[in-house]
Symmetry: C2
């Protein structure tokens, strides 16, 4: 049976309204109905006055729709609609899909393995040997399948992936993302500097860096010509791993396309790394990339922990954006990225898991960590006043903004994903906190880690989700309107009673009495 023309989502919707700059983002929490065209996966409308089953019926009637699963005559020409409900009794709500703006897919088997090392030692000890093993495409398949499944299960609807230097494995990552229905930027890693990379894991030359990257671009353009799911991203690893010629070559390659290709790299993660870059190039880290024309409006710079004011100005002037990776920055002891300082400088910021410098493939964990480290930032500088510290503190709303709208800016999909605005793509997750626990005795209701006691406001429920939620709370995930992950039982409203009733077809013409035999519970 083909998909009905619309899916009607019904219940509580939470997102962050789009704002150009700054922090202090407030959650928008709305209750009602929102419908998505299954032809293009876009939000076609919403009605925040739909608060009960009667309201829902009236809406469906007014639209001239037939509910899928009811026994409307098959010859009916009325558009069918599928209903997906966020259950109030289960403390469920719809939320935009997360955007992971920085993740190294091949490093996933090392998640949690970094000992007490910092960046440069960690790369040599853990990272390069792991990535090198992806010359084995069978291994790549197992790991990449796992990464995609894990990130989808954590609500990541779009990811900007670093792969490895290997063309076959990188092409495979693109294939698997497309098949799984996850939006992805796919980057073959360029790294050719002989003094900083292992002899058995680097590109042979600057020319090879560019040519092999071209191969990946061609593959991705073949499997997804319009970039509906997967797009290439040029990925010079970082200034210490790339020769000047390779960086120039990559920048030139980006410009050959219209629009220019996405670029991603690392910047100013660790103080020793910054010193090494300045020593080798004789200029600031940002200037190295500016000089090589790698700072563009479609460039994602991971970390940016230790940028000087001058460097911030340079990044801002070129329109490049920053992926904040707080879990990684703490795990490797890199430092605390001054998110407020970046935003004040006019730089767009999103969140990245940075697996496996980051130990967790969950964006939600990085929402938490972004909040936490913003509260510790004041302790890095004794001159910061209480008021300044308060201003630097990311609220739950601020961090969720970075994880959705902010990330959308970084992958150049603002206005397309990251929120529930009219016309945007339905890239979303259904979050379930489970039933209230206040009346339970020992041991009950422990299907997830969030405990709602029943007195919380919706804003407080969202806070509880942020602080204690995990993949168990992600009941379903959609990308471009298509279901790509589901946990637990059926999502659709139970329409079986309608099918068994000869009156079911009346849904299409608005039967007043139909509420008497349907199984829906009233939304409170």
């Amino acid at each position: 049976m083909s998909s009905p023309p619309y899916t009607l989502y019904f219940g509580t919707f939470v997102h962050l309204p789009r704002e150009k700059t700054g922090l202090n983002h407030e959650l928008a929490i709305q209750h009602g109905a929102l419908w998505v065209s299954n032809a293009d996966g876009r939000i076609q409308g919403f009605d925040w006055n739909v608060h009960s089953d009667e309201d829902l019926l009236a809406l469906i009637t007014s639209k001239g729709w037939v509910v899928e699963g009811s026994s409307a005559p098959t010859f009916s020409k009325r558009p069918r609609v599928r209903i997906v409900k966020a259950e109030e009794e289960r403390n469920e709500f719809f939320f935009p899909g997360f955007i992971d703006t920085h993740i190294h897919a091949p490093q996933y088997p090392n998640a949690g393995l970094f000992g007490s090392l910092t960046l440069l030692e960690w790369l040599q000890t853990y990272t390069f040997p792991m990535e090198k093993s992806f010359q084995d495409t069978h291994r790549a398949r197992a790991v990449y399948n796992r990464v995609i499944a894990r990130t989808l299960a954590n609500g990541t609807t779009c990811a900007s992936y670093f792969a490895t230097i290997h063309v076959p494995a990188t092409n495979l990552l693109a294939d698997l993302c497309k098949r799984a229905g996850q939006r992805a930027l796919i980057g073959r890693v360029c790294m050719d500097r002989t003094d900083q990379t292992p002899a058995d894991y680097r590109d042979e030359s600057p020319a090879a860096s560019v040519a092999l990257t071209r191969d990946v671009i061609n593959h991705i353009r073949t499997i997804d010509p319009n970039g509906e799911f997967v797009k290439p991203v040029l990925t010079p690893r970082f200034a210490l791993a790339c020769s000047k010629d390779a960086m120039h070559g990559v920048a030139a390659l980006a410009k050959k396309f219209d629009p220019p290709l996405h670029i991603q790299t690392h910047i100013s993660e660790n103080k020793n790394e910054v010193a090494a870059v300045e020593s080798i190039y004789g200029m600031s880290y940002a200037d190295v990339y500016a000089t090589h024309e790698l700072l563009t409006p479609r460039t994602i710079l991971a970390h940016a922990v230790h940028l000087s004011d001058a460097e911030k100005a340079t990044v801002r002037a070129r329109g490049a954006k920053v992926s904040h990776c707080p879990a990684s920055n703490s795990a490797l002891g890199s430092g605390i990225c001054p998110v407020r300082g970046l935003l004040d400088a006019g730089i767009q910021v999103g969140l990245g898991t940075d697996v496996s410098g980051g130990y967790d493939a969950s964006v939600l964990e990085n929402v938490r960590q972004a909040c936490l480290v913003s509260r510790l930032y004041r302790h890095t500088d004794a001159s910061i006043t209480d008021d300044e510290a308060q201003r630097m503190t990311l609220s739950v709303g601020d961090a969720l903004y970075l994880a959705t709208r902010g990330g959308a800016e970084l992958v150049d999909l603002a206005g397309e994903v990251g929120g529930f605005d009219l016309g945007m793509s339905w890239d979303a997750q259904l979050i379930s906190l489970g039933g209230d626990v206040s009346d339970l005795v020992t041991g009950g209701g422990d299907e997830n880690r969030v405990d709602v006691f029943g007195t919380e406001s919706w804003g407080e429920k969202v806070e509880k989700w942020v602080w204690n939620g995990d993949d168990r709370n992600v009941r379903a995930v959609w990308v471009r309107g298509k279901l790509v992950h589901r946990r637990g039982g059926s999502l659709q409203k139970d329409c079986s009673a309608w099918s068994s009733s000869s009156w079911g077809w009346l849904w299409g013409v608005g039967a007043v009495t139909i509420g008497a035999f349907i199984t829906l519970r009233r939304l409170k």
Copy 2:
């Protein structure tokens, strides 16, 4: 059927050997068998040469035991033994139970609710109103049952609880802990300063603080005379909430017992709090407690983020100990506790969740946070060198030590719990990481958040557990040898084949051929 005299645990055992001071703790990882007397719950012996089912059989034979569930004649006088196996194929291991040295049980419904507030505002806004509601004992029962269930499910076998000022609810917390089989210190909160506490939530007088606390002590001594599970702990909230007379009265009360009673309070959590204490008392925070004789070898001081060197010396001289609560310290922006500095000063340190300043009732989350903030500490002081920073970094082994052995020191149970030494109580958890995922395709094996790919060493598996583990990995929890929490299927080895065989009784006399028809799989 009564419990057999022994339980034999078989598989991989991980703990931290006891050391007097310092960090750099290495995991001890052993494979074999360990047996516990079910009469007293103590570890009676172990044999690290038991690596196969044949070895296990030989051990049982040599001990003259009969396996429970085999069809040995009921008149057999041989001691029966129950077998619990950590499955190698499921990446399972036994680990000591966690000790949560600082948790506010009544604040649990507020877990995750703190907004962007810091300590003193948070107390007034969230905490005092919540605690006040525990005058309703029905409410207290629902919340306390939940807290105990949650902490047990997270592997907490011993907790030092702050309750509220209410005697009935505090007595109830003791009752419920004892019934659930969780070790606990139970503290009725003393707070009587009229300038810093709400008029409707404080003790009426210093005398009331002492008298009401006595009531709770009497109750706990009645229900558990030997303190096998629950013990009282004197709990003056903190210097800003207690009058001098109340602090003197509590200190005097502690000394009336032999050994003196446990004491717990807060110290030096937040800079504004420290300034307020010094302003009111005209001396340092540590000196306030020293002057009032609250610093004893059985005193737990929560936080200790901003102690001066002189204060550390005072704390050390009195033998008081520190509960490090990293999740809370980050969430409320309090700062980074210099754990290495405390240890260098000779102060014992354990971990606390500090619910609900801390957002999570999991000690494991605080193991993670302890590691993370120790890696950020270097950024609080530009003069810290790389070597010094490395020395301040807590490894996974260090943080797990704090969560087990360190915590045992704080609750004065060192040598009793926190490790797997001969004669210690079997307070333990069975951790399961699940089967290897390397050969899975999309979507499989996601019953927990840890992915083992099959190439990891046991040390690396423990690291993965620390960084991505949660309550899903806690398959079982024991306190004093008794099972107090279980997740999923049966724990005991399947002995059904033995029961159906008339030869089963031969287990008791050492049948050489018995391996041929048992269902056990060989340990690799």
